[in-house]
């Protein structure tokens, strides 16, 4: 079972704080980590490899420093990494990103399964997984919450949709995007860390994949971010205490009044 896992490096939000004056986020000093939702894909891949053998290649497109994310995934148990990097890729939107990742996946070749996180915690588009499936014309299940059955011919999965779970059978090779419910990511092992430190990670440019620069980066991207603003999130509504029976009754009554005013209850 050969698996390829595209991952993304994102700013860590774990220590991010909200500026209480402006209601905006303070991101200074935020470290870069593997997109937390990609870890579920990495864990799922490692579990499949442990059961069925084979090899896991993690790939990412990003700045040189994104190599760290690949090494982290390798320290958890992935085998190889490929970094796609170069200024020609800067500013790529999801369409171009998935195009480039698809070309890289083709070049790696010999895979049975592509696993991806549901979305990245920075861009939050959730588009790259489905777009890769579309470029590579692979059967896809998005929002996969469970792998029910898997063999060399096909995979049966459950996907989490709004009201329920849907079961699909896909013939292999296939692409799954996964949600948190599918697994619990492990921590890197010491041996994994040592291996990750030493392993050579090839860096691919547009030339390694014979890509036309016109289709890459900002220039090749159909969509353009034209403005960024920080929304005001503070509402600073009325806050009242409930510290004994009397004040609790009062607070509850005020809450009901408030809800009535807003037509939330009659």
């Amino acid at each position: 079972m050969n698996i390829i896992i595209p991952i993304k490096q994102v700013p860590e939000t774990g220590n991010v704080k909200m500026d209480e004056e402006t209601g905006t986020v303070v991101r200074e000093g935020a470290a870069s980590i593997i997109n937390p939702l990609d870890l579920y894909a990495v864990e799922t891949g490692i579990q499949l490899k442990e059961k069925l053998g084979g090899k896991i290649t993690v790939i990412t497109m990003g700045p040189r420093s994104a190599e760290k994310a690949l090494r982290e995934a390798i320290s958890m148990g992935c085998d190889d990494g490929v970094l796609i990097s170069g200024k020609e890729f800067a500013g790529s939107d999801t369409w171009v990103t998935s195009y480039v990742l698809s070309e890289a996946i083709k070049k790696i070749g010999d895979y049975d399964l592509i696993l991806a996180g549901e979305r990245a915690t920075d861009g939050e588009t959730g588009q790259v997984g489905p777009e890769i499936a579309s470029f590579l014309d692979l059967p896809m299940a998005a929002y996969t919450s469970r792998i029910v059955e898997l063999n060399t011919e096909s995979v049966v999965v459950e996907r989490l949709i709004e009201e329920e779970y849907e079961m699909l059978r896909l013939s292999m090779p296939a692409l799954l995007t996964v949600v948190k419910e599918i697994s619990y990511p492990r921590l890197p092992t010491l041996r994994g860390k040592q291996r990750a430190k030493k392993i050579a990670i090839p860096v691919w440019s547009k030339d390694s994949m014979e890509l036309d620069e016109a289709n890459l980066g900002l220039k090749g991207s159909p969509t353009r971010v034209v403005k960024i603003s920080t929304p005001q999130v503070l509402r600073n509504g009325m806050v009242i205490p409930a510290d004994d029976e009397e004040s609790t009754v009062r607070a509850v009554n005020q809450m009901l009044d408030f809800m009535r005013e807003k037509n939330l209850i009659r």
């Binding site: 700013p11 939000t13 704080k17 209480e20 937390p36 939702l37 939107d93 999801t94 369409w95 998935s98 920075d122 861009g123 939050e124 588009t125 959730g126 588009q127 489905p130 499936a133 579309s134 059967p139 896809m140 998005a142 929002y143 989490l160 709004e162 329920e164 779970y165 849907e166 079961m167 699909l168 059978r169 896909l170 013939s171 948190k180 991207s221 159909p222 969509t223 353009r224 971010v225 960024i228 603003s229 920080t230 929304p231 999130v233 509402r235 509504g237 009325m238 806050v239 009242i240 205490p241 510290d243 029976e245 004040s247 609790t248 509850v252 809450m255 009901l256 408030f258 809800m259 939330l264």
Partner: protein, 330 residues
């Protein structure tokens, strides 16, 4: 460029249209009117009734592209993508919008690749730029901490998914007339590599927290699983569903489909009640666009109060039972 008109991709369940379809019509109508163009809606599925098609017209569609066939009974992205790709290639709409639901967010990226179009995810606002007529797509990113305005200046169609439950459904006007285009089914649309095997209901609580008007969520402050009982009761008496913070999910008090936040779902109910939830950045990412937010927390410094419209500083184990009692006497 001869791309023209605005399309919405309607969603249906066994032939019955979902509410998001009417929300899309409201968005689409506004865009089409600004452009002085037609609004059409695409419906793909099986057993789609004439009434359902009529309703799309009554609620604002000038035309409906109906693709109704047993082969399309279930949403299989490969099949639906092939249908939508062909329709787009033939009729060349300028704008195509769908719900930012699991349906839209699976289908639209698949199609965007096939038709070489730009796609913007999970928009909260759409508008038409004066002068250029370009679609302006506004969407939150980084856990809702920034708002990005995005354009697709050159490629057509301009595609977007739109976060559901943000605006009112388009009004019904039974006098409205429109054209129905019956699209003939093509066997080649069906991808034999994918098979729909069935659905499984989740045990216990309703998990459709994104479709609910009221979400009552519990967090670490509830201390143990059993205490979610009172959260469920409160949700029930308000006609809502139960949500949870990651702490509550990771401790096994509620299942993952109930998780609200950065690594869970984004909800936009009319009312969100957070009980024993601190209000971390990651939790806020999933609920701060709720219309009204009420927080109940014993710590007056909990950040959740900053984003709340109304808050009670108190012990949830005192406040919630008192609240339930008052609601009972209602």
């Amino acid at each position: 460029m001869n791309y023209q008109g605005v399309w919405t991709v309607s969603e249906n369940d066994q032939g019955k249209l979902k509410g998001v379809s009417y929300e899309l019509l409201a968005r689409g109508r506004g865009l089409a009117d600004k452009l002085g163009n037609e609004l059409a809606s695409v419906v793909i599925g099986h057993n789609i009734t004439d009434e359902a098609v009529e309703e799309l017209i009554h609620r604002g569609a000038d035309a409906v592209y109906l693709v109704n066939d047993p082969g399309l009974r279930h949403f299989v992205v490969e099949n639906f993508s092939a249908v939508l790709r062909d329709l787009i290639n033939v009729y060349k709409p300028e704008i195509v919008i769908a719900g930012a639901t699991t349906y839209g967010r699976t289908l639209m990226p698949h199609v965007a690749v096939r038709v070489n179009a730009g796609l913007t995810a999970d928009c909260t606002e759409l508008d038409i730029e004066e002068g250029t007529g370009n679609l302006l797509q506004i969407r939150p990113a980084i856990g809702g901490n920034i708002l990005a305005e995005i354009k697709t200046p050159e490629r057509r169609p301009q595609m977007a998914t739109v976060r559901p439950n943000l605006i009112k459904h388009a009004e019904k006007d039974e006098r409205r007339k429109g054209e129905v285009v019956n699209v003939e089914f093509k066997a080649e649309w069906i991808d034999r590599r994918v098979e729909h095997l069935g659905f499984r209901k989740s045990e216990g609580e309703n998990i459709n927290i994104q479709g609910a008007d009221v979400v009552v969520s519990g967090g670490g402050g509830l201390k143990k699983k059993e205490n979610f009982g009172m959260i469920k009761k409160l949700a029930e008496s308000l006609g809502g569903v139960v949500g949870a913070s990651r702490v509550a999910v990771d401790r096994g008090w509620m299942s993952y489909p109930h998780q609200v936040g950065l690594s869970g779902k984004t909800v936009t109910p009319k009312l969100y009640i957070a009980v024993g939830i601190s209000g971390s950045i990651q939790h806020l990412a999933g609920m701060k666009t709720a219309e009204t937010i009420i927080a109940i927390n014993s710590d007056s410094d909990a950040p959740i109060f900053k984003v709340a419209d109304f808050g009670i500083v108190g012990d949830a184990f005192e406040v919630i039972p008192a609240l339930l009692e008052s609601l009972d006497h209602y």
